[in-house]
């Protein structure tokens, strides 16, 4: 790396060089061993007793092995072969999130979710939440029977009562409301229509926990369509986001990440990339990936949007709107110039739930000529349909006793709506209340009847995420409990006797089958659609001719009235990447997934900037922080503070989705509910609160934060980066090229070795990780957890630095500055450095070194090298000396301090501690015992399966056939896995491998580097330098 003044740090502690941090950084393992389960400690006598017992037990066990049964199917299904995985295309729908998926099942049990590559809408990737959703299927907290007033009843009894009650209400003309999140499924809508036909006084109220109502209404007034356009980030050269975290949570992050990454990939033939501007308060995933990020207050979003409009309008010759000037005009002007320069291939988005802001955003896009290219009405996105105004009316009606019957269709407004408390207290006023929720959640606990719905993996369904793009859900397992699909319930109550499957088929026959001409037979058509999971209808649409007709001036006036430069503290809530709006809060995989930016898990917290923390006198080091009382709007909550670099000054952030009280054992009592602090009116839900007061309670608190747990000891070449201009001039810009002195002069580290090296005849597995396209979304780390049976250790053990993740995503902040500069000491340095740092994400797993330091120190040869380049870890041979982990320069080996399975001490590890949860375990991967080391295996079980399939068919494996769980999950294809011996494989192409004269292969790609190349361990994982599309001058400013 060239000499610059950029400094990298993983957390505030490192930046401060806190003594505690330095102490911990020196050690692979924390010094203390708090593993004594009783306080008295174990004496030598106990040890002898145990040993005596152990010897006796062993000799007894040796006498007779337990009888193990082998129970075959009674009637083996044709398609199911024990130990052979089956894959079914299906559709993930959770709340109003959508993803087309492929479900891997073993012996009829879904065990893994992967993206459906055939889907245009979601593009074949997944998110952390999609990956984790398979465990929610095996959640013991799900309802096992239909209920009435808290007691189990039969479906027949329930149906009879529901029908009679609804019949009475409908006959009297009483209002019946079906409250739901956005319904993406056309057949579900039709089923509800059948229900409404039977009870005509029924109305459907749609709301979304994260509302898009403002944007939808703006589009309605601007274009006459109450939908969102389809976004094509892959066509956008300049993207400006005002608080829309489109890479993390906004609208369709899976596809948007893929599209965005397409514009960020670089290679010898493509030296151009897009530029992303982000104006936001909390440091989001989008902000972290932005080339230019400007931290702003939520009260100024409207002003920034308005100012951008004026800048663009000035160029376009359109009249300006009257809004106040903003502070950061430099970045905004730059953004405007870039937008104008890439007219027609740019996108401006905003996450603000406000009709006037969204109208102005539409106007900007219109001025830029983006409609028809990057934004298209050909296939409007239908996943968000919530109407805040209707919901508001519903709450008022309910509280006034005007509503006679309420059906909550898979939603939980008592928890996830700002007026939840009102809804909860008014439910008693309705004569008939029913919920189809899968558990007794905050809302369901207050209704009379519960008709539990199936999990999506047990259901038939269809979906239309965007107009003309359809997908199907099919059950991958038969019902685990006595539940019934809610759609079936609606049909039953609506006196329709067909099954919902037939109902869907009938719909498809009438609409989609009729719309196509390729397949003549419906059954064939249906089977084909089911196999593909998706059906993309006729792409040509008549909608493209819509014209912008929004009233910008009126919107400008409204903005000027509503948005004022804020003073004091403002609270900004956001959906976290892991928990979202809280639907899957009871999923321990998601709870233990560290937030991509703060790296905090098992909690939500108040994030604040270093300057705000300094003002409040809050100090945070090594996870020790202070709890504060936050008074915001109508509520007061107490929760810990996390100092978050990049947080806009004068704002604090808080994640939604936590603070569940009735979600289940894992989620209950974790964090606080941020929805309760928000307000909602007829114009919509407002996701920020002004006039917040924060008082430190003085109570010290330990937060589970993984960010500084594994560190590279100040070797700052781990991240290698450059700007686009530098890259264009020199493809190897930013690369650190160490040389080793030898008797024959300086040599590359790879050329100097004590060992002879390995010979790979067959395969040589390797991985490429493009830091430029990695957005840090963490889908890979959850996918790894699912695939490899990685235990959940719980908050306490994360605090003890014993998280088990094989794949972690290291997040580095960087900023201009110089640690040695004495003029920048103390807190002022901190403040400046952490004000708005650059962020780099680096997925870090076992680097599968060719000269692996771990292999040479293992006294029992439990970790060895394979002829395919894998660094193998053999658990049954490991005796737990942990020498290997101490000797690993990448700190990727994890030690099993405990037996995490079948252990009541780890109740949160539901995948290994109850009969139902265990169904999710991957039968091809061993569940590790206490006292052994484990680490990334490059998904050796997948490699073995892939090779075996090829051998059985008498051929070589095809590139792409064998892939790791992380690479498969990655929505941006930042992780590429493959055989470096196969010259046609993607990895060989990416690395531009070529044979040297000595018969070795050489990596020709200039961006490719090994982390810590200078120590000569020769990893098989290659990283591509991070390239930022920044001006050189900006970088050095």
């Amino acid at each position: 790396m060239k000499e610059n003044t950029k400094i990298y740090w993983k957390g505030i502690e490192q930046l401060k060089n806190d003594p505690e941090f330095v102490k911990n950084a020196d050690k692979e393992f924390p010094e203390y061993l708090p593993i004594s389960e009783n306080e008295n400690g174990n004496s030598r006598r106990d040890f002898l007793k145990l040993m005596g017992f152990g010897v006796a037990a062993v000799s007894l066990a040796a006498c007779e092995a337990p009888i193990r049964k082998a129970i075959p199917y009674l009637n083996k299904p044709v398609d199911v072969d024990p130990s052979v995985a089956n894959y079914y295309a299906s559709t993930y729908i959770n709340g109003s999130d959508y993803c087309s998926v492929v479900v891997k099942t073993r012996e009829g049990r879904p065990i893994k979710i992967e993206g459906n590559k055939l889907s245009k809408f979601s593009g074949g990737g997944t998110t952390a939440q999609v990956e984790a959703s398979v465990l929610s299927l095996y959640d013991k907290q799900r309802l096992q029977n239909p209920m009435k007033s808290g007691a189990a009843v039969t479906w027949d009894a329930l149906d009879a009562e529901v029908k009679s009650k609804l019949g009475e209400i409908a006959a009297a003309g009483g209002q019946i409301k079906i409250v739901t999140h956005s319904i993406v499924s056309p057949s579900t809508k039709k089923a509800i229509a059948k229900f409404i036909a039977a009870y005509p006084s029924t109305q459907v109220i749609t709301y979304d926990a994260s509302s898009y109502s403002g944007a939808l209404n703006a589009n309605l007034s601007s274009f006459g369509i109450r939908a969102l356009p389809s976004y094509n980030f892959n066509k956008s050269k300049t993207t400006v986001s005002f608080g829309a975290d489109f890479l993390g949570t906004w609208l369709n992050p899976v596809a948007f990440s893929k599209q965005f990454a397409e514009t960020r990939k670089l290679g010898p033939k493509k030296k151009e990339m897009s530029r992303l501007y982000s104006f936001e308060s909390n440091l989001s995933l989008t902000g972290a990936n932005a080339d230019y990020r400007s931290p702003i207050r939520p009260s100024e979003v409207g002003l920034y949007v308005g100012n951008l409009y004026n800048l663009i309008a000035a160029k376009a010759g359109a009249p300006a709107i009257s809004v106040a000037k903003v502070d950061d005009t430099a970045t905004l002007t730059k953004a405007a110039n870039d937008l104008w320069a890439s007219k027609g291939s740019s996108i401006v988005v905003s996450g603000e739930n406000d009709i006037s802001v969204q109208t102005v955003v539409n106007a900007i896009n219109n001025l830029l000529g983006n409609y028809g290219s990057t934004l298209s009405w050909d296939a409007p996105v239908m996943t968000k349909q919530g109407d805040d105004a209707m919901m508001d009316v519903f709450v008022t009606d309910l509280s006034q006793g005007l509503v006679s019957g309420v059906i909550f269709f898979n939603c939980n407004p008592v928890y996830d709506h700002p007026k939840g408390a009102v809804i909860g207290s008014s439910l008693a006023k309705a004569k008939f209340t029913l919920s189809t929720s899968d558990r007794v959640d905050e809302t369901t606990s207050q209704v009379t009847y519960v008709a539990p719905d199936n999990h999506y993996l047990e259901s038939w369904n269809d979906a239309e995420p965007a107009k003309g793009q359809y997908s199907l859900s099919q059950p991958a397992i038969s019902n685990i409990f006595n539940t019934r699909q809610a759609q079936q319930s609606f049909l039953t109550w609506g006196n329709v006797s067909t099954s919902y499957l037939d109902f869907i088929k009938e719909n498809w026959k009438e609409t989609h089958f009729a719309s196509q001409t390729e397949i003549a037979d419906f059954q064939t058509f249906w089977d084909q659609c089911l196999y593909n999971g998706v059906f993309e209808g006729d792409a040509t649409s008549t909608m493209s001719a819509v014209e912008f007709s929004g009233d910008v001036n009126a919107a400008g006036t409204k903005i000027a009235g509503k948005y004022k430069k804020g003073t004091g503290l403002e609270l900004v809530t956001y959906e976290s990447i892991a928990i979202g709006a809280g639907e899957q809060a009871n999923n321990p995989w998601l709870q233990e997934m560290p937030d991509p930016l703060s790296k905090v898990c098992w909690e939500n917290y108040i994030s604040m900037s270093q300057s705000t923390a300094n003002e409040l006198g809050i100090e945070m080091k090594e996870g020790f922080t202070t709890k504060v009382n936050v008074k915001a709007g109508i509520g007061t909550v107490t929760l810990p503070v996390v100092v978050q670099p990049g947080q806009a000054a004068g704002t604090v952030g808080l994640a939604l989705g936590y603070g569940r009280t009735k979600a289940g054992k894992v989620a209950d009592g974790v964090g606080v509910n941020a929805f309760a602090l928000l307000s909602s009116n007829s114009e919509g839900i407002v996701y920020s609160v002004a006039g917040v007061t924060i008082e430190p309670t003085g109570e010290s608190y330990r937060i589970a934060q993984t960010q500084t747990h594994q560190t590279f000891m100040g070797r700052e070449t781990v991240i290698q980066e450059a700007t686009l201009a530098e890259y264009k001039a020199d493809a190897s810009a930013g690369r650190y090229k160490p040389m080793i002195s030898s008797y024959s002069g300086p040599k590359k580290p790879n050329a100097v070795s004590l060992w002879k090296g390995h010979e790979y005849n067959n395969h040589h597995w390797g991985m490429v990780i493009d830091l430029n396209s990695c957005t840090g979304c963490a889908a890979c780390s959850v996918a790894c957890q699912v695939e490899n049976n990685i235990p959940v250790v719980g908050k306490e053990e994360v605090v003890n630095r014993r998280e088990m993740a094989w794949l972690r995503i290291d997040r580095y902040y960087s900023s201009q500055g110089n640690k040695e500069d004495k003029s920048m000491e103390g807190l002022s340095m901190l403040e400046k450095a952490s004000e708005n740092p650059e962020v780099t994400f680096q997925p870090m797993m076992c680097q599968q070194c060719n000269n692996a330091p771990c292999e040479t120190v293992c006294p029992v040869a439990a970790t060895t090298h394979s002829t395919e380049g894998l660094n193998q870890m053999t658990y049954n041979r490991c005796i737990g000396t942990r020498y290997c982990a101490n000797n690993c320069p990448f700190k990727v080996r994890r030690f099993n301090w405990f037996k995490y399975h079948d252990n009541r001490q780890f109740p949160d590890n539901t995948a290994m501690n109850n009969e139902l949860g265990k169904m999710v375990l991957n039968p091809d991967v061993v569940v590790r015992a206490r006292g052994v080391m484990e680490k990334c295996s490059f998904c050796v079980q997948r490699i073995q399966t892939g090779k075996l399939n090829a051998k059985k068919q008498g051929r070589r494996p095809v590139d792409g056939e064998i892939s790791t769980a992380c690479a498969t999950a990655c929505p941006t294809e930042a992780i590429v896995f493959g055989d470096m011996k196969d010259s046609n494989s993607r990895i060989s192409q990416l690395l531009r491998l070529s044979a040297t004269e000595e018969g070795d292969t050489e990596v020709k790609e200039e961006r490719a580097y090994n982390v810590l190349e200078e120590i000569g361990v020769k990893p098989n994982v290659w990283y591509f330098t991070k390239i930022r599309n920044k001006e050189l001058t900006d970088n050095q400013a």
């Binding site: 193990r68 075959p72 009637n75 024990p82 060895t864 658990y875 061993v926 079980q941 059985k952």
Partner: protein
Amino acid sequence: MLKPVKFSPFKEKSRHLTRTFCLSLVALIFSATVAFAQDGEAASGGADDGIPSDPAVISAGEALFKQNCTVCHAINDRVVGPALRDIHTRRPLPWIISFVQNSQKVIQSGDDYAVKLYNEYNKTQMTSFDFSNEEILSVVAYLKAESTKPAETADPTTTTTDGQVAQGGGSGVPSEYINIILIGLLIVLALILLVLVLIVSVLTKYLAQKDDLDEADKDVVQNRFDLGKTLKGNTFMGFAVFIFTAIVLKSVIDGLFTVGVQQGYQPAQPIAFSHKLHAGQMEIDCNYCHTGVRTSKSANIPSPNICMNCHTVIQNVGGQTGMSPEIQKIYNAIDNNQPIEWVRVHNLPDLAYFNHSQHVKVGGLECQTCHGEIQEMDVVYQFAPLTMGWCINCHRETQINTKDNAYYDKLVELHEKKSKKPMTVEDNGGLECAKCHY
């Protein structure tokens, strides 16, 4: 699937080696005697009981026996019916003929032996066979020939490889003679010892009577053998301790190596299913029932619906009418919707990954390589030790089945450049940990 076993002679356990060595030694000494005895017996059987000894008749009898009788009878083992070894000496020929032709008639006639037999075997009726007297005679001739042959050792490791004798010099010596031979040897040694002691005492006495011996010689002659002194001597003590420690260590190590090794494990199964009948006599391909053996990790225990492919028609064995109680169990399982809980015979630990299709489909191994002569087993037992040493040894010695498999083409080419030996599993990384442990 059911060809003569091709199998690599892997390391046998040390117990076997010792035994083989002893046996060969003994066999060398006593072979002449044994051979003579056998000849004598065969000769004495001959003419007087009316059972033919013509090889053609015997082989006809063998065919009949294997086709009709082995479902219920074995020569040495009690199966459904009694073992038929030495039947010609136990029962007279006319009785045998009438019992085979119609057993119920004999029982109803009040024949004591027949009634006792009937009760002893839980009143299981023997199917009546419409055989001629000559046919039955040929079966008896076969049985007689088999009975007079020395019984084959039941030890599974004595199976042959490609027709060659597996057990070295010891083969051919019936195991039941071993003890007799060993006891004989001991007696001989004791006699020799006695004779030597007698000689010594006679000589001592003789020398003691002589007067012209010098002091040193007298000491030798009068020196009485002091047992206690010898036992207390350092040499003896050291030797004894050494032997004792060696034996203890050896047995501890042997014992530890057998922890978890279930070789020979032969649990009773819920249904008396016989592989000998299905795979051996009926020659049903293994893959017919074990559907996964070429496609998946597990070979699959057949589900009752596969059993029903045949057993909807075949409801009893050996020509009996009515429903066999064992087959009834399959019907019961289906009727009661209650799967059959077989007892697992081969239990690999969870930490080891074994895939049937890799070995059978890709490797082209026979089932018998690991499962033994399964077509001879009425009740399945664990043939191989299933230890890691056993696995690895085979991986070291087995050549990869690279024929017509494009996966291996380049590998074979590379291998041939470097080595003249054929490519074994080991050469392709078959000994690496992560091939089986992950």
